[in-house]
């Protein structure tokens, strides 16, 4: 009888129920216990380079294609970078329209994640059959009526987004100093009516979370336990009162005890944030410059920081709207403090933000300037350099452009939210793998529990891999007229070799 050798590596390929491409590699020792696990990002596109030579005003639409799930975030960060590039202040009306649009966008994006992507791990259960762990399984579990309500209410948010910004996937809205389209009384009425519905759905989602997740002891243990926990630094945007603000403000960094270690203006981001490169993945790892990169580890000595809903709650003192603030207080009580290290807490914090966004839409449309025709400030100055920061659904998003005097982009740097979470995701994937995989055995349920470690971050791996590295194996085809074609291969270590190919002729 032959004994099968203990597997030394388990791959989860691809990871699922998220945005973007990713792969998890889990390495085991001789006893089949997990030693290390890594999250790898295998795709990349090169936005930071190919936007060079494009007219600056085209960038909000081009960079929205970094991500089709959060295109509004890319679009808005880009638009704000253009404000800075052209040194132009958007009009009051433009800012209102942008904020209403943006809050609607984060509202529906967060809802997508809770109900369709991350939530099924709880509603349906991590051990449910693979075929059921998705939005359709969610509908089966909570009932068709609830399922419809969620789908329809979210869809109506997207319809309203289309009214404001032309389209939901890849909006057309932002211009330096303004927006492209004016609002009307009819649109405002629709938004008023919708905001009520949105607040109700947000409250319903919080209640569903409580009933279907928090009140289940087995799940609550996961939230409060050590497997899905990370004590990193935290980063997020806050307004002048220190409240969480998704659209504008300064960026705050706090430590593991919630003490402020940085509060910076967008223009100064490069003094605070640096990026580390590893050869085994295309994504770069942002970290706090003054602490330094210490690897895939947390704690005060490591420059790793996290972003996104629970991080935003950690860095801010309060929510900017009443119902969300109340919901936040319940959350803080449940976790026993204002600095929450539970990684799964993102699922809950996300819903508090959903409520906040809905309330913000309700507030903002009442502003007297919302319907004004003054949607663009045309006093643009000679463009040079600009940084725009917003809080994307998944965290702090930074766009930094330089241009020539005519407004053609000469360079771009983009620090995208999910990049900052990749290190923590990798860390938590490892802790989950160690907790659940033993003796070399890993069934579908156990592997899904490993995936739950990244899913709570609602990662946007298309965002994370916008860039393009090099020294990759390159095949160069040389065609010379009248001669045989030559194919050269430059392999990863830089050596060139020739591939024999049949002649292509003239």
């Amino acid at each position: 009888m032959s004994i099968a050798p203990m597997p030394r590596k388990i791959s989860i390929d691809p990871i699922t129920r998220l945005e973007g491409h990713g792969k998890i590699e889990i390495f085991l020792d001789e006893a089949g216990e997990v030693d290390k696990a890594y999250l790898q990002l295998p795709d990349l596109r090169g936005f930071e380079k190919f936007v060079e030579g494009r007219p600056a005003e085209e960038l909000p639409q081009i960079v929205s294609r970094v991500c089709g799930v959060c295109p509004g975030a890319q679009h808005m960060a880009s638009t704000k970078a253009l404000d800075a590039l052209f040194q132009v202040e958007p009009t009051v009306t433009a800012r209102l329209i942008r904020e209403v649009y943006y809050n609607l966008h984060v509202f529906e994006d967060h809802l997508l994640h809770f109900w369709f992507l991350g939530g099924p791990d709880f509603f349906v259960g991590p051990g449910a059959p693979k075929e059921a762990r998705n939005l359709l399984g969610m509908v089966d579990k909570v009932g068709v009526e609830t399922g419809r309500r969620v789908i329809e209410t979210r869809k109506r948010a997207r319809d309203l987004i289309e009214v404001i910004a032309g389209r939901a996937v890849h909006p057309v809205l932002g211009l330096p100093g303004g927006v492209s389209k004016r609002m009307t009384p009819a649109i405002r009425d629709d938004l008023r009516a919708y905001a009520k519905e949105a607040i109700e759905l947000a409250l319903f989602s919080l209640e569903a979370f409580d009933r279907l997740v928090w009140q289940v002891p087995e799940y609550r243990e996961l939230f409060l336990g050590d497997v899905y926990r990370c004590e990193s630094y935290y980063m997020g945007m806050v307004d002048a009162q220190g409240r969480s603000d998704l659209y504008d403000g300064k960026v705050r960094v706090v430590d593991q005890q919630g003490r402020e270690v940085d509060l910076f203006e967008p223009a100064d981001y490069a003094k605070v944030i640096a990026e580390h490169v590893e050869p085994w993945t295309y994504v770069k790892f942002p970290y706090l410059r003054k602490i330094g990169w210490k690897g895939l580890t947390d704690g005060p000595e490591s420059g790793m920081y996290r972003v996104a809903p629970s991080a935003r709650l950690n860095v801010s003192r309060a929510m900017s709207t009443p119902l969300a603030q109340r919901a936040r207080e319940v959350y803080e009580k449940a976790f026993g403090g204002t600095t929450v290290h539970s990684v799964l807490a993102n699922h809950w914090a996300r819903l508090i933000e959903v409520l906040n966004c809905a309330e913000r839409v309700q507030e903002l449309v009442e502003h007297e300037a919302f319907l004004s025709p003054e949607i663009r400030n045309m006093n643009l100055n000679t463009p040079k350099e600009g940084v725009g920061i917003v809080e994307a659904p998944r965290g702090t998003l930074i766009h930094h452009y330089t241009s020539d005097a005519s407004g053609i982009i000469t360079s771009a740097n983009m620090i995208v939210a999910s990049m900052a979470n990749v290190a923590a995701m990798s860390m938590n994937i490892q802790s989950a793998a160690k907790a659940f995989i033993h003796g070399g055995k890993a069934d579908d349920e156990l592997l899904n529990r490993v995936e739950m470690a990244f899913r709570t971050y609602d990662p946007c791996l298309s965002c994370a891999t916008h860039n393009l590295p090099g020294k990759m194996p390159l095949q160069i085809d040389l065609h010379r007229k009248g001669q045989a074609s030559r194919s050269l291969l430059r392999s990863g270590d830089g050596t060139m070799s020739e591939i024999q190919t049949p002649s292509q002729g003239a």
Partner: protein
Amino acid sequence: MSVFEPDIVAFVCNWCSYGGADSAGGLKLAYPANVRLVRVMCSGRIDPEHVATAFREGADGVMVMGCHPGDCHYRNGNHKALRRFRLFERMLVQMGIEAERFALEWVAAGEGKKFQEVTTAMTERVRLLGPLAIHGNVSPKEVTHG
């Protein structure tokens, strides 16, 4: 070692520039055999798609020739050619194809000498550039010429 012989395609309008080619012939002014003529009624008839296709199909250089502005047989066909191809030239450079590989010229029916001059100059310019190889990645480098 053989000398590179570029393939040049020249779109010429029936009334002026083809007449110019004819004049050149009549005056026994030789022009390079590298240049193959495609005769159309007017330079305004030539679509940038034709020029792009010529490059794609193996031309190392392409010319478009028409009547002098103001003299177009159809009044303003050559104005359209001027607008289209000045824009085309700007785009060509962005796509990694050297500007010298394309030329828009005005040649009248009686200008046999000019016809000879521009076609010869074009041939020599392109000869120096070498063969054109169109790749997916249109950035100017990464391509070595013979």
